[in-house]
Structures are given as C-alpha cells and as structure tokens.
C-alpha cells in the first residue's frame, strides 16, 4: 500500500470514530493527555508534535482492573475495539516491551491480550522533541518504524497516511474516498522533516555517548556510590515508574463483594519501600539507592538478558516528572565515566 494524502485530520478521525472508541491527545498545560474523541465537537483536532504525558500502557495495562472473580469464575471483561491516535515511535516500542511480558506463550495475561487484539494504533511523526527525549540512544526514531496500523506524518499541505498492518491497509481501502495519492514531493517533504527532527535529537543528546554498551556500564557500576548519592534527591513518590511506558510491576489483592470475591490487579512500583518485603520482614531492597539501582538494572540488564531488548525507550518521561530532579542520563553518564576510569586503572595495573 502506497502512502495516501489527506488535507485535514477530522475526516480521518471521524471515520475511525464511526467504527470504534477513539482516544486523541488534548493539550493540558504544556503537556498532552488523552481524552475520548468527540466527532460532534467542532474543534479542530490537535496534532501532538511530541509524545503525550500519560502513556499508552494505560490503554492496555490498566491502573487497576479485575483480574479474576471467584468462587464462580466469570469470563474476562468484554473488550470492544478502540483506537488511539498520536502515539510516537517510543510508544510503539514500549508496547513491544509490554507485549513480551504479557503475551508470553507460557502465561498469557488474558485481558492484556484481548486489549491488544482490539487496539487500532494510529501513530504520528514527532516534530518537537523535548530536551528530555533520548530515544535515539535506543535506536528510536522521531517517526514510527513498526508496530502501527496507520501512521500520520504532518506536511505543510496536510497529512500523509501510511498503513503499517493489514488492518491499516483495509482501513485505507475502505475509506479511499477520503484520500488522494501522496505524490513524491510530499514524501520528500516528509523525509526532510524526519531527517531534521532526527538531527535535532542527535544534537540534543550529543553529550550522551558511551564507550561501552549501557548493559556493560550498568553491570560494572553495581558498586558505584552514584545510586546512593542520587537517592538523596529522591522523595520516593514513585512517579518515575508510574509515568514510564515500560514499567509494569503490579500487585494482586483480594476484595469481598456481596456474593462473590475478586482478585484485583493494580500497578505497583519497585521504588516503594515495602515492594520486595516478605511476610517475615526480610527485605532485599530496604535501601533507596538499591531500589534505584534495581530499577535501572532491570531496565538495562535483566530485561535485556531475558527478552533481548532494553526495557527503556528513552522517552524521557521519568526525567521530566522527577520531583528530585533525578536524570537517568546523568546516572548513566556518571557510571560510564567511572567505568572508563576503572578500565584505565586496570590497564595501568596490567602494565
């Protein structure tokens, strides 16, 4: 399927909303958050130049949900098709990460799988990377690479729409009256935009260069004082893990209803002090610095070992949200420097 062109977003989104619930970004202060699209509202639709504040995980891994009913089980909640517009490449890659965990052959999270099957993803290109975006370090791009149904690229005259899946192709074919061909000059304009944003990202992160892989840097930095030093700034609000599109810790708890019981599944955070504590009181992560270290080790070492990808997409949300001003990039940089000087001392000794 070739790319097609549409001059305004509204007809496209109206067509989607005719078929299913559609969620679109809406500006709130300086950030975008999601809200349900209302076709009857006569407002022009906002094209988010940058990732939203809240993340895509909320659509597929709910903050709190019913995991099971007992003693008489009921079938999983009926999930209807829904669409999300304005997801960026970092969001798509965070979905890929969550998929690894929740759709694993051995134990599938039934609700998650159903939501994923029913989700129609309309991604879009980034224009205005934030100072905190460092997706390029993780091979992210300011435009969708894969994992979308439709992608929207803004150009001066309107929008280029591209299908990334069979569902997306079907949609374009069924609604061909909405679109015209996207000619080469439009595609060239899009490619130029993309290259320019990519360049801007690279410039923003020019300082963030490592001589070794992040995994090596983390593994070698386990005895570093940096975690305890950073912990002094941390107020243990857990915002970094809640806002992270890839963090997926949760806990199960039970409730008593009138004539049945439920098992609920709710987000949790490895930054919480009692997170790893056992009933007997033992707690391997009593110390805040150890929890910060564990969070990063999970992201850059353990998850990578298990699933073959980093558990961070470099979206920078944790950086923007942190009340203590903790910046993961600074931690990595410090560890990288320590790694370098350690390497040097070692080679000196070897001589």
């Amino acid at each position: 399927m070739e790319a097609v062109f549409i001059s305004k977003l509204k007809p496209l989104l109206d067509a989607v909303a005719e078929q299913m619930a559609l969620y679109v970004p809406k500006k709130s202060g300086e950030y975008y958050v999601y809200s349900k699209y209302d076709p009857s509202a006569n407002k022009s639709v906002e094209f988010n130049n940058i990732r939203t504040c809240t993340t895509v995980k909320e659509f597929i891994f709910a903050v709190c949900e019913l995991a099971a009913v007992y003693p008489e089980p009921t079938g999983p909640e009926d999930i209807k098709p829904f669409a999300v517009f304005g997801l960026k490449d970092c969001d798509l890659r965070s979905i890929e990460i969550l998929d690894k965990v929740f759709t694993e052959e051995e134990f599938q999270d039934v609700l998650y799988v159903k939501r994923r099957e029913n989700m129609f993803i309309i991604s879009s290109d980034c224009f205005d990377p934030s100072e905190s975006c460092f997706c390029n370090i993780f091979d992210g791009r300011p435009y969708a690479q894969s994992g979308f149904d439709l992608n929207v690229s803004q150009v001066r005259a309107g929008f280029i729409i591209e299908a990334g899946s069979d569902k997306g192709k079907d949609f374009i074919e069924k609604h061909s009256q909405l679109f015209t061909e996207a000619d080469q000059s439009l595609l060239d304009e899009r490619d130029k935009n993309r290259a320019q944003t990519q360049k801007q990202l690279e410039q923003n992160n020019a300082e963030l260069k490592f001589d070794a892989t992040i995994k090596e840097i983390m593994e070698n930095g386990q005895d570093s004082a940096v975690f305890d030093v950073e912990a002094e700034e941390c107020v243990e609000c857990q915002a970094c893990t809640r806002i992270c599109p890839t963090c997926h810790c949760f806990y199960l708890y039970d409730t008593r209803q009138k004539d049945y019981f439920t098992k609920m599944k709710m987000w949790d955070s490895c930054m919480r002090v009692g997170y790893a504590e056992v009933a007997g009181g033992a707690n391997p992560h009593k110390i805040l610095g150890d929890r910060i270290k564990h969070r990063l080790m999970h992201k850059f070492v353990y998850f990578l070992d298990r699933y073959g990808i980093d558990m961070c997409v470099g979206c920078g949300r944790c950086i923007e949200t942190c009340a203590g001003g903790i910046d993961q990039r600074t931690i990595l940089k410090k560890l990288s420097e320590e790694f370098k000087s350690k390497g040097k001392t070692k080679s000196k000794v070897a001589k």
Binding site: P71, V101, E105, Q108, H248, K263, V278
Partner: protein, 273 residues
C-alpha cells in the same frame, strides 16, 4: 495456554494440624485435580483477604488432598491461622521449578533444613523415600529453635528415623528437659564426611540466615555451587514472572525458582536479605 493465570481454583480446608506454637498444617482438598512437582509453590487465597505463596508439604503423589504448612508471619498467614475446618480457599499454581529429582538418581542426597523450611523438605523427603532405591542415601540434618518448634514431630522423631537408607540427625538451638540430641545451630551437626561430596547433592531450606551459613559451611567442606540447591523465599505475588515482586537479579523466583542452585544466584549479593 489461554487460561486466566490469576483465576484460583476452589478448595476447602478439611483438617488443621497444630505443628508448633506458630506453625499449622492445613489439609486442603482442591475441587479439581491438582498436579505439582515437589518444590513448586502455590498461591493460597483466603477469599476476600489475600493470597500468599507456599510450597506444599505433601508429596505430589498424594493427589486427593494437599498439605500446606504455614507459619504465622504476616497478615494473610495470621488470618489463615484463625481459620476452622470447612473454610473455603482458592489455589493458584503450581508455579516455578521444583527439585530436579531425576538428576539426583544414584546420588547421596544431603538435606539440611531449619524451622518452617522443613515444609518443602517434607514433600521432597516423602517423594525420595517413595523410591529410595533410586538414591544412594538420604542424609538429613534438621534444626529448630527448641524441641517444641520442630514440625512433623510424630514422624520426625519416630518413623522417619527408621527408614532404611535414611540417616537423620536433629539439633535445637535451646534444649528443654527431654532433649537428648545435639544442641546448637544446624551447622554444628554438619560434618564433611556426612556424605561423599563428589557424588552428593545438597538441598537447603530454612530461614535466610540459616541458608547463608549452611551454604558457606558446605562450600568450606568442598561442595561445588552447582550441587547446592536452595529454596528461595521472596515476596511472590503473581507467580508467573510478570509482577516483578520476586526478582533476584535477573531471575524471577516464581518462575525460574523457587529452587535454585547456588551457582545460579551466587552473583547477587542480596539473596540472603
């Protein structure tokens, strides 16, 4: 598999045995056939209250009812201790990897246990005893705080000691009037010639501090890390390698354990915490 992994199967507590002042064994009959391997764990739900992880203390061969020995340690276990016969429960699992018994064939099996750690060991012990001819010997070294704190007293002080092929020694931290055996922590009854180290595997289960010092002692004796099997207790919740609560380094204890060789986990400094 598209079953809901969070859905418990229904069961009922049909008997409760007082084992020690703080430990009880609950005999649970699941409504559906429930298969597990010795050393695997289950999540036991007290309806409406919560669930907690336990390794059954009955052998897998005993299919009609399952025994779960529980020490009162936290909120859910305290509530379980107040339960009466007939209490409905939920069971999820079994989860994780148990003891690789088939790899033990032809070897001496050296089992070191302490406190409520004897619960998983009982399941293992009964499983081994059932096919005792497959193993060179089963050498047990068990400890408890006081003689009263030993669980499974009847069999432990009686029939288990008489099984051919089993060699058992017990110790307590603090003796009382009748106690004739050793006094001291469990490491005081471990000796380098208890088993032939080259052809033996060790299974250790007990409180973290006991596992730590036992492991160190075993290494001192010349055991290699891959022959030491540890049963790890962590804050398990989901049981299926997703919620993150049970992580030791890269491992999910619920999925990759709860039984690990020391070799697998020795790189992580926090395993004993």
């Amino acid at each position: 598999m598209s079953q809901n992994p969070y859905q418990p199967i229904n069961g009922e507590i049909v008997d409760i045995i007082d084992e020690s002042p703080t430990i009880k064994t609950f005999v649970v009959v699941p409504e559906e056939k429930f298969k597990f391997e010795t050393g695997q764990f289950v999540e036991l739900t007290l309806p409406g209250e919560g669930e907690a992880p336990f390794t059954p203390s009955s052998p897998p061969g005993q299919t009609e009812k399952m025994e779960i020995t529980i020490m009162e340690a936290g909120r859910v276990t305290a509530l379980l201790h107040q339960c009466k016969k007939g209490q409905k429960v939920g069971i999820r699992g079994p989860f994780g990897n148990g003891y690789p018994i088939d790899d033990f064939v032809g070897k001496e099996i050296y089992i070191v246990g302490g406190g409520v750690g004897l619960a998983p060991i009982r399941s293992l012990f009964l499983t081994l005893v059932d096919r005792i001819k497959d193993f060179k010997s089963v050498v047990c070294r068990f400890g408890a705080r006081t003689p009263d704190d030993f669980i499974y007293k009847n069999t432990l002080f009686g029939s288990w000691q008489k099984i051919a092929g089993v060699n058992m020694k017990l110790t307590v931290d603090e003796a009382n009037g009748q106690w004739k055996d050793n006094v001291g922590v469990v490491t005081t009854i471990l000796a380098p010639d208890d088993v032939k180290i080259k052809n033996a595997v060790v299974v250790v289960c007990g409180p973290p501090i006991m596992m730590k010092f036992t492991t160190l002692k075993l290494l001192e004796f010349g055991f290699v890390a891959k022959d030491i099997y540890l049963s790890m207790e962590k804050n398990m919740s989901c049981g299926i390698g997703k919620c993150g609560h049970c992580m030791i380094g890269k491992y999910y204890v619920c999925k990759d354990g709860p039984v690990f060789t020391y070799k697998q986990i020795k790189q992580y400094p926090d395993i004993w915490d």
